[in-house]
Subunit: 295 residues, 2 copies
């Protein structure tokens, strides 16, 4: 096969040998990871089940910009490092967690001043872990690492817009970070599209760093959406789980309650019963189940 030449009469090999990347300025590329888990709240009664809450791991920034603000963990992508590799490396460095489910969320780069230092494009990822065996530890870029409970509730709903409150809380440290989210249905020619506006709640003293409140808001929506039509929830329970535990994960994320019978029917296609039982809970023991791998 005859090698094709370009307009300068060069073969591909010659072209690449002589290729000099332009000296135009390039953006920095970072990865962000939103690590979610569904955690048990402390038991209030020996025989009652623990309530669950959706939690996200945040770090406290120890340098400018946004010094002292809480932020999503992340870091720069090396020039010779794949994006996923960078995310797993950062996750390991900042939280000592490995082997988790992770998916790409969105790439943020419309606002060229989202980082006041320089142009930064950030590829955000969502990771899901079961709440057992979690020992996050602070890394280089952070004073502290902490789990924050995440709540997103509808506060107003009209024909043209829905208003939510997104509240992040860490009770131990007595921190509450709140944002108001308004999803507006905007006529965009023929098609209506959703435009999201986010601003801090008036009473909320604390703020998240950068545009991280937008990323968290998107992640919650994505999580709620994907749990409905994918088996993503199995990443939030241990290998062996009771159906009630699984139900609590769904209820916690979606903010609704299921009838046990109907929930069991719904997930029955995706689970297989294990031999073991979960005893010692102050009431009838529950069978343990495992995900059967169906999609």
């Amino acid at each position: 096969m005859k090698e094709r030449l370009n307009k300068d009469g060069l073969t591909e090999k010659e072209f690449l040998e002589r290729y000099k990347p332009g000296d135009y300025e390039r953006p920095s590329v970072t990865v962000d990871m939103l690590l979610f888990t569904v955690n048990n709240k402390p038991k209030t009664d020996y025989k009652k089940l623990a309530e669950k809450e959706l939690q996200i791991l945040l770090i406290k920034r120890k340098d400018h910009p946004y010094l002292g603000h809480w932020a999503i963990p992340g870091g720069f992508v090396d020039i010779d490092e794949g994006i996923s590799t960078a995310v797993y490396r950062e996750l390991k460095e900042e939280t000592n967690i490995e082997n988790v489910y992770m998916e790409q969320l969105c790439t943020w780069g419309d606002d060229v001043k989202r980082d006041p230092r320089m142009r930064v494009i950030s590829v955000s990822h969502m990771a899901l872990v079961p709440s057992d065996n979690l020992k996050p530890q602070a890394g280089d870029d952070a004073d502290e690492v902490a789990w924050f409970s995440v709540k997103k509730n509808v506060t107003k709903s009209t024909e043209t817009e829905i208003e939510y409150e997104v509240i992040l809380t860490n009770e131990e440290k007595d921190i509450t970070i709140g944002y108001k989210v308004i999803d507006k249905f905007v006529k965009n020619g023929v098609i209506k599209t959703i435009e999201t506006e986010i601003e801090p709640l008036l009473w909320s003293k604390d703020r998240l760093a950068f545009d991280h409140y937008k990323i968290i808001n998107l992640a919650i929506d994505r999580l709620r959406n994907k749990i409905e039509y994918t088996p993503i929830a199995f990443n939030l329970v241990p290998e062996k789980f009771t159906l009630t535990q699984l139900q609590q994960v769904y209820e916690t994320i979606l903010g609704i309650e299921f009838t046990p019978t109907n929930f069991r029917r719904k997930v029955s296609k995706y689970v297989i019963k294990d031999d073991e039982m979960l005893t010692g809970a102050g009431h009838r023991p529950a069978s343990l189940f495992r995900y059967n791998g169906c999609i």
Copy 2:
């Protein structure tokens, strides 16, 4: 409120004034756009409806690397240009199309050698346009611009994997580009994940540039997925459309057929009847409908 100082005793303002971006190498960031439409094939019978096909716009590269190969249009993101702005700019430059529905697909950057010239991270986007009033025109980076019909069909299906053929064809230019896709269900600890392998079909002489075959494959999946639970399909029909036209869009993308009654019931929540009718089609005229904007 007392201004916080960092470890060097600097305020945020001082920090930013003195901040020098590191001289580490940065990746180039590009945007790719997969422009899809559902087009009418030529009529074979005056009274029969035109068959439809999913089409994607490709450009023929006129320089190395991949000189002469067909590729997804795209280009570099300027240092002071938002990502969406860059996509709309490129779309306008390369195809003269504006005001289209667009969404981010995925960011490609795991393979650091996906572009042989340098490290390139590419943010791919999917745009949808109705097939009327489309006059793409070649821009600077391309010899030619052409629509290719896109087909993705299951060729084999077992418990552990599904095999597809993705075929891109342009009849006018007599080009057929074919890939074999295998989605494997891989045990990943407890959870099974899907791993996708793609390779050119043996008989396929032509190839797509870079890793663009992977991007197109993902876009088809995303489109098929999202058409099921979002009103995305209305971006592929004109402002006023008949229900059969809408049905054909669904059938073309999903590769299945609907019963008219059931399809009408399914979309009835999302359309409003217009006063106008579509006449002159060789059979009973059809009412025109419009999208009502519900989500």
